[in-house]
Amino acid sequence: MEGRPLQEGDLIERSRNGDVVAFEQLVRAHQDVAIRMAHLVVRDHAEAEDVTQESFVKAYTALSGFRDGSPFRPWLLKIVRNEALNRVRSAKRRHQLALREASDPVSGGAAPSPETVVVTRSDQVTVLAAIDALPDRYRAVLTHRFLLEFSERETALVLGIPPGTVKSRTSRGLERLRQIIGEDQM
């Protein structure tokens, strides 16, 4: 035990036994992705912070139901997502995801050759708007895969659908995205 950094499993076990210091470490390890998950749904920074805080408190009380050996992050993010969805069910309007202040063009590195396609802010805005225009089932999968950069497996665990469904919805979602944007545009 001495000097060994605590593994996530140890932290979970300790938290389950009431060790809030251990739980605080779990919060710090996962708060970045948790707040992004919340923001993806509620689209408001302050609200996302609030959802994240509430979700961690709920996760603590739900720890006894966490299955040992199963991945913790998707289990936690599912709680975050549900909490966020509960908040937006009562709200009518969904804001579009904003882009951070940045300079154009986005794709960095060497000067673009004719083959290199430069990504512009306007491309990004177009794609984000198109994602929002997708039916829920495709939007959920694409935002997890491309905005949160989750693997197919993790996306499947968080959304509670089979990995095969994630794969097929990703490919159909991308097709739909192209249709919304217009083939010639992208």
Binding site: Q53, Q124, V127, F146, L147, R178
Partner: protein, 233 residues
């Protein structure tokens, strides 16, 4: 990578994501502290729980009724009979927080008994006001202050209950099939727990403390272990 894929790949860095505030983690912890404590030291309220089948089943086994009735008063442990004990019990001992014997002893107000016969326990756990010691075997001894609340013991019909004497006082020996405990937690949820180890149980009270010794061995061995707490083992 086509153009759409390239745009998608650029989005995670481009979106104006919120950053968690520096207080987020501490707020979570303070909320847990204020809303849920005590949890690490979980307060389990042992109470009488009403189980409809108890009265009928006890009535079916007249020989044990008096012993049972006596123990209602004597041991603060309610014994009832049910057709079947919950099936998935016994996997997880869930004895509480592991700690050293001296740590555990410092957390309770009663004087812990040590069965000399077994030597120091391999493991000690603390949960609420209950201390559990485990020896190879496995043998489990739990001790907890007698309070105003009560545990309830559910016993399958093919289990025998015998009134026995332990170091000059009454005790109860439960032998046979699995049995389980039922209690209500602080939220009022009914929790069913196995007799922690499948096997036999010796129950007694001494010095304001409830004792529960669980082991696979028979009555003689159980009594020898228990008596060794009082210097007669």
């Amino acid at each position: 990578m086509n153009r759409l894929e390239r745009v998608l790949a650029s989005l995670p860095d481009a979106v104006d994501w919120p950053e968690p505030s520096e207080h987020l983690a501490t707020r979570v912890v303070s909320r847990i502290d204020s809303e849920m404590r005590p949890r690490g030291v979980r307060m389990r309220r042992w109470v009488w729980a009403a189980v409809g089948s108890l009265v009928i089943l006890v009535a079916l086994i007249p020989g044990t009724r008096q012993a049972v009735a006596d123990l209602f008063q004597e041991a603060g442990v309610r014994i009832g009979f049910v057709q079947q004990t919950p099936s998935d019990l016994g996997r997880d001992l869930r004895l509480g927080d592991p700690m050293t014997l001296s740590e555990a002893a410092s957390l309770v107000e009663f004087e812990l008994g040590f069965p000399e016969l077994l030597g120091p326990p391999e493991e000690t756990y603390f949960d609420a006001d209950t201390i559990s010691m485990v020896w190879e075997g496995p043998i489990l001894l739990t001790q907890r202050a007698i309070s105003t609340s009560f545990g309830e013991k559910l016993i399958a019909p093919d289990t025998s209950v015998t009134d026995v004497q332990l170091a000059g006082g009454p005790a109860l020996w439960i032998e046979g099939a699995e049995h389980s405990f039922t209690y209500l937690d602080e939220q009022g949820n009914r929790i069913e727990e196995s007799a922690r180890l499948a096997g036999n149980t010796l129950l007694w009270q001494r010095g304001g403390v409830d004792h529960r010794l669980e082991l696979a061995d028979g009555l003689d061995r159980a009594l020898a272990i228990a008596e060794s707490i009082y210097g007669s083992g």
